[in-house]
Structures are given as C-alpha cells and as structure tokens.
Symmetry: C2
Subunit: 139 residues, 2 copies
DNA sequence: ATAAACCATACTTAATTGGTATACATTGTT
DNA sequence: AACAATGTATACCAATTAAGTATGGTTTAT
C-alpha cells in the first residue's frame, strides 16, 4: 500500500513548479538539485508528466520545464496515475484471472477491495495541488 | 498502491475459515487446495495471523487452524496489518529522513499523503469480515 | 512409538522499482 | 554555420521487495 518513490518525486516536482510559477521554464538540473532527485531519473519522470499534460517541456538551449495547467486543475490522482498508471489496489480488480479461483465472477473480497479502491481514488481526486499550496489539506 | 498477494491470500483465508465456522480445526492442506495457495507459503502466512490473534492453530495429528474471534470483530485492516505491518502509503510518513529534504519538519506533500492514508486506514477499519460475508459492502 | 499435523529459520527465485548509459533531436548564441 | 545546452527515446543494469521453497524441529492423537 505504498506510493512509489517516483510518484512521490512527481508530487514534489509538480508542487515546486507550481510554486515557482515563473514565465521562463526551469531547467531540469536546477530542479534535480533543489529536490534532490537523480537528474536522469527526473528527466524520465518529466516525460511522463509531459505526456499526461501536467507540465510542458521546452527543448534546446534555455529550455526546461514549466507547469501546463492551473494548480487547481491538477489533482494528486492525476500526478500519481501519470507516473504509475491507473490505480488498482489488487490484481484481481484489473484482471479477473487473478481473482484467486474464478468463483462467482467476482468474489466477496473483490467487492470489498473495490469499495476501498473507489474511496481512495476519490480522495486522491479531491486534493489539488492548489489545495496543497494553500495548506487546505487538514487531517 | 497495491495490497500484496500475501495480504490478498490472508483476506481470502480468513473469510474461508469464518464461513466454514466449524468446531474442528481445518487442516492447512485442505485450505491450501481449496484456496489455491502454495502450502508452505500458507503455513507461514498462518503464523502471522496466529500472532495477531486472528486465527488459532492446533498442533499435532488432527491439528489445523480455526478462527480466533468473531467475524464482526475482524476488520480488513487487522488482516492486512497482520501480514504486512502498519500501513504507510509513503516512506516519509514513518521515517522523516525520507521527507525528501528535511524542510519545515513535514512538507506540504507529507500532510496531504497523511490525510489520504488516514482515510484509507479508516475505510479498512470500517469493513469487517462479517460485513463481507453478509454482502454488506456496497460500492 | 509413530505418523500427521504445525513451527521456525533460512534460503532461493521472481517481480518490481529505482537509477544509469548511449545515442539522438532541438534551439539559442556566437 | 558551428557549437553547446538543453530535452527525447530506448535500452540496460542494480537494488529492493515479494513470493515461494527447503530443512529440520516440536507437538499430539492414536
């Protein structure tokens, strides 16, 4: 039940770009140093965020990365799924062949886990980077 | 964001023992075959559930396993934590050294993840095996 | 006493995750 | 036009974690 290190990096990097909120793109080297993320790993990670439309990249000299949309339009779910793909808390939820025995299509455990998953995803959807910046996430 | 295969096995095995609800203990070999879980792996898994007080084991000939407490007193969280230990969705939550840079003690992302985790754990606590058996888990 | 069960520990293998390397494409500057 | 500074793409390697197996031991009903 962990988010990956890469997912964690992604959350922090997106938060950073949102906070910087600058006109000119930030260079990966700067971000790598600031967030203590291995440069190559960060570059790879950025490509995933780029594909997902969360950040924009600028190639060439004086290139870099900047945020692609408003922080209140970026949810934690968006970022985590951009990195790790769709969230499934159990294999049997995306592939019925894993539903231990192929019982009555979906077993009772399957149902329970699906409910847990649904609520988890909802929670992740309900927190935006804007919420995070403004300290609106209470617990 | 996955529960482990072992955790999944554990949920199914506990459900099975609760449903069987017999006086005499069930032998691991029978359970292994019924749930299609490798025998040795199952034995190891049962020891964890035993330590956590969820099931009881009986040694010697005619030994086996049976449920140790009422299904309405066993939550999904109990089972998953018995197998995998306490739930932390991110390393920085149990070990502040991982909180990327040691910024202002706990960073904004940390707060958000803690909230997500808290709700996840609550959800897992609120579903008992009894709920599962009775089909009370809707989604 | 014996056989059928579970217990404990250690080991091995497989899968996933994290990180690196190589070669390439783009773009601003000189 | 050449160059250097950037990002891109793919493939590879290493570390960690999860899954499964093996060996030898203990308990207990018969």
């Amino acid at each position: 039940m962990r988010i990956t290190q890469e997912g964690d990096y992604a959350l922090r990097v997106v938060l950073y770009l949102c906070k910087e909120n600058m006109n000119e793109p930030k260079k990966s080297k700067i971000i790598s140093e600031h967030e203590k993320i291995p440069l190559r790993f960060l570059l790879k990670l950025f490509r995933k965020l780029n594909k997902a439309g969360i950040i924009k990249s600028f190639r060439g000299a004086e290139g870099g990365y900047s945020i692609a949309k408003s922080p209140d339009k970026i949810t934690l779910k968006d970022i985590i799924e951009a990195i790790d793909g769709p969230i499934f808390i159990n294999r049997c939820i995306y592939d019925a062949d894993f539903c231990n025995l192929n019982r009555t299509n979906t077993c009772d455990i399957h149902h329970a886990l699906l409910k847990i998953q649904k609520r988890l995803v909802e929670d992740l959807e309900n927190i935006t980077i804007d919420n995070v910046i403004k300290g609106e996430v209470q617990f």
